[in-house]
């Protein structure tokens, strides 16, 4: 399999004007020295708690925001140095699916206008009838009747909106899609529909996905590989089966054990982490997780643990990385 996307030492620091620390503005370290690859046709999931930098990472990959440091390349081409014109051409290959695709759109636009917007901007629409034809095709592809194309967003349920957002994203045949919490706002019975739809489309269209989610059960189902983020850093990344069966970072282990399990017959031995996630304006020295880490030692506050490959394709950033097999008591089968 060949590499589609590569991130190298990617970092983003925001200057938050709302918080002032004395005369200095607060700096938010949203993404910190992140490196990884995404293969063609692969789904890499990014999990982690609110504010850990998942959306920022997704936007950096698409160059919707500029990185503070590091590089992103697609098909071997470094995006960081592309001119505006060259970047515009690249954009056709990269699309985004949001938690609520209509949140940022004018309620006065019709479904047809919403879906055809990317095609219009890349000159892929010849005329009016061609537009209607393409929109009808796309609606059908995502399981909606073509007659919906003249309706306005507010007449749709959450699941239907998500289908429309997906139709819009695949309209330009991208090779890479960033899906930012695409099912988080949906009811359980609708989540399954959207996940199945995305998987079917990935199979037929062959695009790669960066799947952002805080739901470990959803990730388990959709991902090929999983990256776990904590305070802007990737603390563990590896093949899904390895991450779920034997997480090597204590944070991954805690995250897996915290998820409530829908089976009342099993008592779960839960690791309950103490304390809150520290503020990204004030990331602790050494390992960012150390204040909540049940196994932290002195070295964790002085040295930032480097990411180490513990198995082919499986990297962990912890001074005491070790398999934490999820025992039967914790994770019923």
């Amino acid at each position: 399999m060949s590499v589609l996307i590569e991130a190298k030492n990617l970092g983003k620091t925001f200057v938050d004007n709302s918080i002032r620390l004395g005369p200095k503005r607060a700096e938010v370290r949203a993404v910190d020295n992140v490196s990884f690859q995404i293969m063609k046709g692969e789904t890499l999931a990014v999990v982690g708690e609110s504010g850990c930098g998942k959306s920022t990472l997704g936007r950096l990959l698409l160059r919707l925001i500029e990185a503070t440091e590091g590089h992103v390349s697609m098909d071997g081409k470094d995006l960081t140095n592309l001119s505006r014109q060259e970047m515009r051409q690249m954009r056709k290959n990269m699309q985004m699916v949001f938690q609520d695709p209509f949140g940022s759109l004018s309620p006065r636009r019709t479904v047809a206008q919403i879906i055809s917007e990317p095609m219009d901007s890349f000159g892929m629409i010849r005329d009016k009838s061609h537009r209607r034809e393409r929109v009808a095709e796309l609606l059908e592809l995502v399981g909606l009747p073509a007659i919906y194309m003249d309706r306005k967003p507010r007449q749709f349920s959450g699941g239907q909106r998500q289908r429309i957002g997906i139709a819009r994203a695949i309209s330009v045949h991208p090779s890479f899609i960033v899906a930012d919490e695409p099912v988080s706002a949906l009811d359980v019975s609708i989540q399954a529909q959207i996940i199945n739809l995305m998987q079917d489309l990935q199979e037929s269209e062959g695009f790669s996905i960066l799947f952002i989610s805080h739901d470990l059960a959803v990730v388990r189902h959709v991902a090929d590989r999983v990256a776990v983020m904590y305070l802007g850093r990737i603390v563990e990344i590896g093949p899904k089966d390895q991450i779920y069966a034997a997480p090597h970072h204590p944070y991954t282990e805690a995250l897996l054990s915290a998820a409530p399990h829908p089976d009342p017959t099993k008592e779960i031995e839960r690791i309950v982490l103490q304390g809150d996630v520290p503020s990204p304006t004030d990331i602790p020295s050494g390992c960012a997780f150390r204040m909540r880490c049940p196994i932290a030692k002195d070295i964790c506050s002085s040295d930032n643990p480097k990411s180490v490959e513990i198995m082919p394709g499986h990297q962990v950033a912890c001074h005491f990385a070790a398999p934490h097999p999820i025992t039967n008591a914790q994770r019923p089968t």
């Binding site: 708690e49 359980v188 019975s189 399954a192 059960a217 189902h221 409530p260 399990h261 996630v277 994770r331």
Partner: protein, 325 residues
Amino acid sequence: MSKPLLEIRDLNVSFGTKDKPLCVVNDVSFSINPGEAIGVVGESGSGKSMTALSILQLVPTPPARVTGQVYFDGKDLLQLSNSELTSIRGKEIGFIFQEPMSSLNPVMTIGDQIDEAIMLHTDLSADARRVKVLELLRLVGMPDPETRIDVYPDQFSGGMRQRVVIAIAMACNPKLLIADEPTTALDVTIQAQVLDMMLDIRKQYNSAIMLITHDLGVVAEFCERVIVMYAGHILEDADINSLFASPKHPYTQGLLKSVLTLTEKQHRLYQIQGSVPPPGTIKEGCPFRPRCPVRMDRCAVEMPPMKSYGPTHVAACWATAEGVE
């Protein structure tokens, strides 16, 4: 069996006009026993919050119309005057609202907000109340309560604010705590902390809890019984072991089949077809009918009655009643 603590009979909540009513809660009946933890699950818009809010007359009427009976300690709460209710709200029944982040007052310290709840229902002295506030902060696992007591809510994280909201609801040791999605806005590791803390409180206070959630995992871990709502109706009411082991309603069956877990490796997810009907669109028969894989002619005409399947399990489905699997 002991006498129920709360008994809801034929609760109906509707909006719209008299001629064109929009029913969002339909003939809901269930009871909660003292000390019992009951979960209410259902999709967005299924009427969970409206049911809970009705218990304390918190649904604004008008525009809504609320009918039925809600017995608590022998009194029908729907018939009480506002002043009679004040002695129950916050004292006998604690309520945690769905939007916890906005239910705290930003210009009042958290200590004063908890104190307000105690002051309203007791005649303790200011000093005694402060002791009680500190005790509650400790109860909800607030680190360093002596300094946190005088802090404003915006200096807290979501998890910490939710602890304060729970402390307020627990201030007068209520017999019933109604918690509407108390952990939905929280991260998983923080949710685990808060649920853990709520389990501890239950053990100490022996309050009954009505926990509203859309997360079957939370229900499985926290509750003894679960009520499944759909489009304003209760479709199934069972003890959790029975519900998870052998769900009787096709909707519950589909829900449990499509729920994602950390262990299973399904190639393709089971999906319930279609989407939830907008409120008011299904006026007759079973509300799940358009999506139901085992529907029968009868389902279009008549709402199925509740039928028992064992001592602690009821469900409303024609097909199940006739033994169709």
